[in-house]
Symmetry: C2
Amino acid sequence: MSAAETIGEMARAARGAVAGLAGAGTAAKRAAIRAAAGAIRVRAEDLLAASAVDVAAARAGGTSESLIDRLMLDTARIEGIASGLETVAGLDDPVGEVIKAWEQPNGLRFERVRVALGVIGIIYESRPGVTADAAALCLMAGNACLMRGGSEAARSNRVLLDCVAAGLAAAGLPAAAVQMVPAGDRALVGAMLAAHGLIDVIIPRGGKGLVARVQAEAKVPVLAHLDGINHVYVDASADLATAAAVVVNSKLRRTGVCGAMETVLIDRAASADLARGVVAALLDGGCAVHGDAGVMELDTRVTAAADADWDTEWLDAVASAALVDGVAGAIAHIGRHGSAHTDAIVAGDAAVAARFLGEVDSAIVLWNASTQFADGAEFGFGAEIGIATGRLHARGPVALEGLTTYKTRVYGAGQVRA
Amino acid sequence: MSAAETIGEMARAARGAVAGLAGAGTAAKRAAIRAAAGAIRVRAEDLLAASAVDVAAARAGGTSESLIDRLMLDTARIEGIASGLETVAGLDDPVGEVIKAWEQPNGLRFERVRVALGVIGIIYESRPGVTADAAALCLMAGNACLMRGGSEAARSNRVLLDCVAAGLAAAGLPAAAVQMVPAGDRALVGAMLAAHGLIDVIIPRGGKGLVARVQAEAKVPVLAHLDGINHVYVDASADLATAAAVVVNSKLRRTGVCGAMETVLIDRAASADLARGVVAALLDGGCAVHGDAGVMELDTRVTAAADADWDTEWLDAVASAALVDGVAGAIAHIGRHGSAHTDAIVAGDAAVAARFLGEVDSAIVLWNASTQFADGAEFGFGAEIGIATGRLHARGPVALEGLTTYKTRVYGAGQVRA
């Protein structure tokens, strides 16, 4: 069977499972996810053993320790995966929600109602936990999914998928609702990306290389973000304590997350105290600062920024820093160098903040708050499957609602069209 | 310049125009669209002349009369285009609408606000009116668009685009908000379809060949429908008068529209009067009926359906007809043969209707109403740019709201993440 035939067969079975999930309802979905969590706890020893084999093979193959860390499961992480599933099972079911209802003068009543998105392809690497958490989110929104993990985590993923399968079986839900695409055969990834009409959306979870490949090759729509080149703009109207706290937290709370700040922009009209204070706070916090000429004058520890720095996602304790001509300058800089992910302003002047929030065309824009709030849980969504910076369907943190679509129900009394 | 470079340059200019439109606001967009309508009226003679040349060239090239009819502009059609623009200018501006607002326990306030989708590619053929109406809808939702019409309508399209450009200029809006991609060079269409990240969505308007090519080749997301294989299911609980009226109107009001019924499904448990009455109503209305064995027994005028008929979009006074085992049989038939566009049930039994509306997974599902209501204006949207049967972003009639996306504004007081 060709890769396309294999994926086609799995996707058709998944499509059938979507109908089964719609019929089964909320309680069955919750029961399946909770039973999967239980199975993960029961099989913790198996998971540790599988992970040990994955890790040993990766180490033997010369994998870097940072990748090994993502791959590795320990008791705490296994419990984290199980309790994460219980969180998902406790979320409100989005399916069936009437988003909007209206009536036309001819008496026709319309209801826009939320339904499952359909068949979702998850392409991921390293972290085996994705096998459980992405599958649970898809399932809770009524979707079937094809999970394609990396071969480096194949043994851990297999055990986790068995636990999800056990959950589905316990709740009487179709096994085809969560299927594993065999790791190793790269052609299967290509077939998933080409499966227009069979797979409704692809969600990549992993490093930039994976996301870039998926975005470049996919014929199926993709929900993802490639870069998080996020900015904090400090307006002259900002107070120093707020600005320093927001900038330092945005950059340094965790430098490796996609919501981390990469560039700080400082109003050229800011007081010397404010401008120096913000830069010093970053440097004192252990962050290297690559500045333009104006920023270099503020602190001797600042080194010269290269042109490429404005387009660099450091994901490290390094920040680019520039002086800009007020909010207009900040908006222009972000327009040129941003990645439409998350950008923040620190300002006391509400009109300036409103202009920034209005004109910066990013998925998330914040006023006087850290960019590190770019996260579904912090938005109150309970959990997220990822952050999307595309412009269609879902933008920003993608949670259960982003994993649904809608249809329109029309109620008549025999109306015909003139 | 290569086709990709040409499209890249146009799309980047369009992206700049989107920011200009956001800044200009509702009144300017309305003024531009009204001024374009005015220009179309003023230049009616030029339009008639351009159309005459297009039509003569098409006729000389052996184009069919039905295509010539789509291509041709006359005084009434020109007035229709102008007044259509005025309708669009009168619609509520979707941009800026706060879709949802909420707060988190840490005091962060969230607003999901509607913004322009961005840069839209319209690929169309024959009907020159699309040049004005699609551009106006894109513009009213704050978008810039690249319009690529067919070479058969190039002269008419050019004059209409000049009118739109005059409208933009009169309202002080950027000329790059509506640009025409030169007709004739097929490579430019390929470049539009490949312009991932430059063009946000492609909307094809035209025949099935055009839509199929766009869907097959596009790397950019597409909003469209390929087929409208729509069903009306007549349940045993239906009353004959309603069933006959809905079925006949669904099929015969206009046979060439995508919302027309193509197949009627009749409950095997329906009374002989009901089943015969529905089939006779279609036949008496001038519709050929291709039936399965059961339907053939109902009326001697019914001819035998071929297997392919269940998957055929007739777009003509022809209907496929089958007996099915109740609502479950209808749902199964539609699942196998439908195109997820529009399907209706005629039933007196509300529980049966609810099951149909719940389980038939089409963009539009109706109870006791004609499938020909599948239209943005009939939904109360004022106008539509098309009907989408995909599952992402917008489903069913796509109007102004479907031409927007959203961002999240977050209001803080210095919050940082723990």
